[in-house]
Amino acid sequence: MAKSVLLVGVGGQGTILASKLLTTGLLEAGYEVKMSEIHGMSQRGGSVSSQVRYGEEVFSPVIELGGADILVSFELMEAMRWIEYLKPDGQIIVNNYKIPPMPVVMGECEYPEDIPERLCALAQTTIVDAAAIANDLGNPRVMNVVLLGTIIKAMGLTQIDWERIITQNVKPAFVDINIEAIKAGMNAVN
């Protein structure tokens, strides 16, 4: 059976780089891999998803409702938006990070405060402070690679040589901090 990893977030959060590194690693480890992303209009501050499927044989590149083994959300409310795509016994990793949508920004409604509690009541949920971890490492932008680290740990993919994948795929100046970020992410999940 193919495994399905659903990465969701808000345009600009770096889900694309995270899924690129993930799929590169999976391919090198010998899996069949398919990945689907929607570009275009949805990128202008909208909700975005990267869908990664891997295994011995993969048919659809798209994850269906109730089909994801893991839902990794780079933003709190996005986890709620996509939760119907998770298998009932699937797990959630959610970044403890809010990006207020336009209606909230405009002061028309309020960002719900209880999303972590709601998620925990619905599925096995790990809340990760990826922004804080990235800040401690010295670059808030590696938040996405911290979250990649959590996926790797949660999906049991730690045996793949991620340091090499990072070295080969990110700019030399950012290799070290990204390696630290991926490790910090792995350590953030049990």
């Binding site: 689907s36 570009h39 590149p61 119907e84 336009m102 002061g107």
Partner: protein, 596 residues
């Protein structure tokens, strides 16, 4: 070596390996990345054309001259290119020619959903439908061979999920390329009636040969399961969706050459089945062919004729339910509608035009279509690219028949102006409707991710090019009232609108400021010195919480409902100053830059 590629990248790679020498396109999701990738191969001459018709015509010229050529476009782009397409089907090719149509079931970034398999049938042009990236590469190469072997252009139909999904690809090499000799052949390429009538007859024998080819084409394949009498017929990405739901417990007929269809193969497959399902996105294209063979398949009577046929949709149609899901109260989830970016130069224009009464705003397609959304709500129509100026013209003529005094302000972007807006502006110049024709010139094709265009000063491969000035075009058309303003200066925008609305003859208004996300060229840096270097902040003591700044609709602004104060996100602010001009209390101020 196996690498992961999107379908778009794989099409480009396939064209490279097929020895293509000429590539032309106009951007459009989900096809844009095909030309972006082609432009990376120095062996291929690649260009952004002003529109899809021009792109296809360039490819036709390259083919006649003896080179292999490719033109790529989104589904609606093929409507624009349909005129040359239908007659190119008659002439056939010299160098092999392939046209990519990227359809959008689900309309993620499109104004409509249309099934361009119908074009293959209507124009009598062979069509291939790849399902994954390896097939994109392989079928592109095959398409060029078919094109030359049968003397016909070939269509490849992609869909969003094929274009933008990644799957493993094994690449090959580019052969030594030799151009075909060129000869004048009036009886092949000059479609006067006498020639075209003969060519029309030839199409019939070509089609018969193509059908024979389709029957044997290795990509049209039946996978039989002797244990089952259920058969599933699909093409493109739908094949993988069907496999996901039905697995290998049934027989599958995967069709890849979908015009002309391998009807004998289909008949043979259907003859062995008790029950036939047809899984296809959008129109009942395969279904109608199967019905015409006398079978009674289950198709659009149970599956929807719109949107994507993802596995959950198939399951719901078949079994009444999807896989089990977590049922959550998703009412807490707030929408994230797309918005004009912080610093977007379209904001100033829409902020001002939104305040005008008794105007019809004839809109167009681009980032600026977001002017239709709150807080501006400033758009009355959007149909297709370039249409704003001509729809505005027609509307103004009818408004003039009433005594309401309604004025039309038509609005489109620079790339859209060069695409087909120019023709429409010519009509305004010729037939003199009393319209205000606004071109929001942000010096780039923004919506589709920053492709160069005739006004940007650069080519697809990044070389410098003549910069075509919109005001010069308008001048050449004979407009007497042409104004150029900085859209970030609200007073200037307001004054010019007053002036032009008071005229009783047509006018052209160009708002010029580069896109906030644009990578500035050296010329931009000179022309727009200092752009996007400031930061603004709200002085919390002066802010009276009136929320007027929120009417600017900038994502960098937020309003704290408890403290009743506005705030600006420093990281998001790009210093356009529009909100500062809106504030009635001067509470929004430019940060004083530190010396040093």
């Amino acid at each position: 070596m196996r690498t992961l590629m999107t379908g778009d990248e794989a099409i480009a790679r396939g064209a490279y390996e097929a020895g293509v020498v000429f590539a032309a396109a106009y951007p459009g999701t989900p096809s844009t990345e095909i030309l972006e990738n082609l432009a990376h191969y120095p062996e291929i001459y690649s260009e952004w054309s002003p529109n899809e018709k021009v792109a296809l015509e360039g490819a036709i010229g390259a083919s006649i001259a003896g080179g292999r050529a490719i033109a790529s476009m989104k589904h609606v782009g093929l409507n624009v290119a349909a005129d040359p397409l239908f007659t190119f089907a008659y002439t056939g090719v010299n160098g092999g020619t392939v046209i990519i149509t990227a359809d959008e079931p689900g309309q993620y970034s499109s104004q409509n959903e249309q099934d361009n398999r119908n074009y293959a049938k209507a124009a009598k042009i062979p069509m291939l439908e790849p399902s994954d990236s390896q097939e994109c590469l392989d079928m592109t190469k095959l398409a060029f061979d078919i094109s030359e072997q049968f003397d016909t252009p070939v269509l490849i139909r992609m869909t969003t999920r094929v274009c933008h999904s990644k799957s493993p690809v094994i690449t090959g090499e580019r052969p030594e390329v030799t151009l075909k000799p060129y000869e004048r052949k009036g009886n092949k390429y000059v479609c006067v009636p006498a020639v075209a009538k003969k060519l029309r007859v030839n199409i019939e024998s070509r089609t018969a040969k193509l059908k024979e080819f389709s029957e044997k084409c290795i990509y049209n394949k039946a996978e039989y399961n002797a244990e089952s009498n259920i058969g599933v017929i699909s093409s493109g990405i739908s094949y993988y969706y069907a496999k996901e739901v039905f697995g290998s417990g049934v027989s599958h007929l995967k069709l890849a050459m979908t015009w002309p269809l391998p009807l004998d193969l289909i008949k043979d497959f259907c003859d062995r089945m008790e029950k036939i399902y047809i899984i296809e996105e959008n129109d009942p294209y395969l279904e109608e062919a199967v019905r015409a063979l006398g079978f009674k398949p289950l198709g659009k009577d149970i599956f929807p004729p719109y949107d994507e046929m993802t596995p959950d949709t198939i399951r719901k149609s078949l079994f009444g339910e999807t896989l089990p899901t977590i049922s959550a109260d998703t009412e807490v989830v707030i929408n994230r509608p797309p918005t004009l970016c912080a610093g977007c130069p379209h904001r100033g224009f829409f902020y001002e035009i939104a305040k005008r009464k008794n105007v019809m705003i004839s809109g167009d397609i681009g980032c600026y279509t977001l002017g239709m959304a709150p807080p501006y709500n400033a758009m009355d129509s959007t149909i297709c690219m370039g249409a704003s100026l001509s729809i505005g013209h027609g509307a103004q003529r009818v408004f003039d028949m009433t005594d309401r005094g309604t004025r039309v302000v038509s609005v489109l972007g620079d790339s859209t102006f060069f695409h087909t807006g120019m023709n429409s502006l010519l009509n305004v110049a010729y037939n003199q409707s009393n319209t205000i024709n606004v071109i929001l010139d942000n010096r780039i094709t923004g919506m589709t991710g920053h492709q160069d265009n005739p006004g940007s000063g650069y080519t697809a491969s990044g070389e410098s090019a003549p910069m075509i000035k919109i005001e010069d075009v308008a001048k050449a058309f004979g407009f007497r009232n042409i104004r150029v303003v900085n859209p970030n200066d609200l007073q200037q925008v307001s004054d010019v609108l007053d002036e032009l609305l008071a005229l009783d003859e047509p006018s052209v208004l160009i708002t010029r400021w580069p896109c906030a996300l644009k990578k500035f060229s050296p010329e931009d840096k000179m022309e727009f010195a200092g752009a996007y270097t400031d930061k603004f902040a709200v002085d919390q003591d002066t802010c009276i919480g009136c929320k007027l700044c929120m009417k600017a609709g900038c994502p960098a602004l937020s309003f704290d409902t408890k403290a009743k104060k506005a705030a600006i996100s420093r990281t998001q602010c790009l210093g356009c100053s529009v909100c500062a001009q809106v504030c009635p209390k001067d509470a929004i101020k430019k940060e004083v830059r530190q010396n040093g």
